[in-house]
Assembly symmetry: C2
Homo-oligomer: 349 residues x 2
């Protein structure tokens, strides 16, 4: 049996196709009696309403917003911060009747969601500037908002004041008396060497701003931190190995780029018999749900992941209505908990 469409119902009832369309989409355009008759016929024929694909083409609107994440869906979901962001985005979009589609980077050459999926706009989250997905998205000229990413063009941007929070974290360690401090980051290939401006030049935007925050405060106090980094964008094997190497000659404190990285440092330190914070102070970044739960609870830089997601969605929604919202830089602030303290006292000599 042929597919049931508007026309099928129209023929059945003896009206035109657009009257049936109106019955579903513009109830005020026809009499209640006729509408009831049409809806009744539709139910009888098993027609559940206008086909969304046809409607999307005719209306020029799909009701779908894409989200491009740094990595594959698998990695993005592994990260509580990314999940919290997605949650807020989805909830905000839902309020306006939009749904969220996850745009993964595909290894297949024949399909590319960023290019091939029908959507009304997109949010780019924490993406490398030259990622293939990002350039593909730009070519489509869709309304876009970028979050903690390099700008694609002149789209509205949501940023984090990374430097403020990391500066506070560095100041906190100085106050406690630390002088031998290491920073642990991604996107920089560095194996426990003195931090210098060249490192900053190679870092991603987000990491670059955090390096700035740490470095400006520390060097202002005459402290040159050590830098441990991976060329990758996650806590990967390279980073784990370099953290291990760093702990062969441990600093008294570590500033990590994320809570997960901080937990990796703490885990490794403990395996070697180092106590946190007595032998080693560790500061995270994000204030993920985990941070307060672990023991000792993590001193970390808080960012409001929920506000970030809400702001991204709200800004994109405004853009779809033709309103341009200003760029937004969200605050960060240090939360002192139990993973930091005074440096260990060493025997002189």
């Amino acid at each position: 049996m042929a597919r049931v469409t508007l026309q099928t119902i129209a023929d059945e009832v003896g009206v035109s196709r657009m009257t049936v369309s109106n019955a579903f989409s513009r109830p005020d355009q026809l009499s209640a009696a006729l509408r009831a008759q049409i809806l009744d016929a539709a139910a009888r024929l098993g027609y559940s309403g206008p086909d969304p694909a046809g409607r999307a083409l005719a209306r020029g609107r799909t009701g779908v917003i894409g989200v491009v994440l740094t990595n594959s869906p698998r990695d993005a979901f592994a990260d509580e911060v990314a999940v919290g962001f997605l949650r807020a985005v989805a909830a905000t979009l839902a309020d306006e009747g939009y749904s969220l589609v996850l745009l993964h980077s595909s290894e297949r050459s024949d399909v590319d969601p960023v290019r091939d999926i029908a959507m009304d706009g997109a949010i780019v989250y924490s993406c490398a500037p030259r990622a293939r997905e990002v350039t593909a998205l730009r070519e489509r000229r869709l309304p876009v908002v970028t979050v903690e990413s390099a700008p694609l063009g002149d789209e509205p941007r949501i940023l984090l004041d990374d430097a403020a929070g990391s500066g506070q974290a560095a100041a906190h360690l100085l106050e406690q008396g630390h002088r031998d401090i290491a920073v642990v980051v991604t996107s920089v290939d560095a194996a426990d060497e003195p931090l210098d401006p060249a490192h900053r030049g190679r870092a991603s935007g987000t990491i670059g701003r955090r390096l700035d925050g740490w470095a400006s405060v520390l060097t202002g106090a005459g402290v040159v931190p050590r830098i441990v980094g991976t060329p990758g964008f996650d806590v990967d094997d390279v980073l784990r190995e370099r953290i291990a190497a760093m702990l062969d000659d441990p600093p008294t404190a570590v500033l990590a780029f994320s809570d997960l990285a901080a937990l990796e440092v703490i885990g490794q330190a403990r395996d070697r018999g180092l106590r946190v914070p007595e032998d080693l102070s560790v500061v995270g970044f994000d204030d993920s749900p985990l941070a307060a739960r672990v023991s000792p609870p993590l001193t970390t830089v808080r960012q409001d992941v929920d506000a970030k997601g809400t702001a991204a969605a709200t800004t994109l929604l405004a853009l779809l209505r033709g309103e341009r919202r200003p760029d937004l830089t969200l605050p960060t602030s240090l939360v002192v908990r139990g993973s930091t303290g005074r440096p260990p006292v060493v025997a002189a000599g």
Copy 2:
């Protein structure tokens, strides 16, 4: 300036619209030279490829798979088990070139993603049988797979062998010597009363099967457990209050329907000075990432969330190819960790 379409490029190059279409979608259908010329013109005119909405209508395929979750996006993301499931689904779909769209339940009457979004199929995860989204989805007659849900019709189903794992959990407590045992569940309105068959009748499918597993083992040993439940589908305020009431006269052991519920019980028990497991043994369900991390590590029933997501996606993908996979029941098994032990010895009298 008018929108750039296939026709724009065709006019520019002096070929027909379908030749331009072929240049993008079926490269083997035209000469390399002509194709290069077309792609070049497209780049010059800022045309990034065939519009997905037009393509979706013509092809009858969108590349999008919907996922319906129990609750709003906000709640679903809050749960590590649901997030793990989504992650596996998204990764498996991505391998086949499909993207995942989150179908939230909307409070707005004018939009309903389950009805209005173009998609090729859907996965229904842990949904109540009469949820509005579910019935709307059925009406669309899309290929569907349900996961831990009541059947919609004759769609392929992925289930969990809830009774096996919960039976093992109950047996474990009996072995340890427990006789005063409470079960903590959702979807049943019960305030610390003796479990009887009527409770089971009111429970959701998943909870019902877990009640069966617990009850069959316990009653076989002459133990009638107490039941504490909320009419809701989450750890909500009602459940929290009833757990508190239960702890006024604590059992020696608790079987919880999820790890999060188990952690709630442990948290409240500690606030009252009860030690886990010395004063109270607690068993969770799920073996979420949290279970092994908390202290004491949680004795729980493991389910393979990743396998569940992969199976759901694989089964739906097969359905889209016209292959019907058999229903699948995934195993569960008890993981004994530190939150269970022997019951406290009480002074006779």
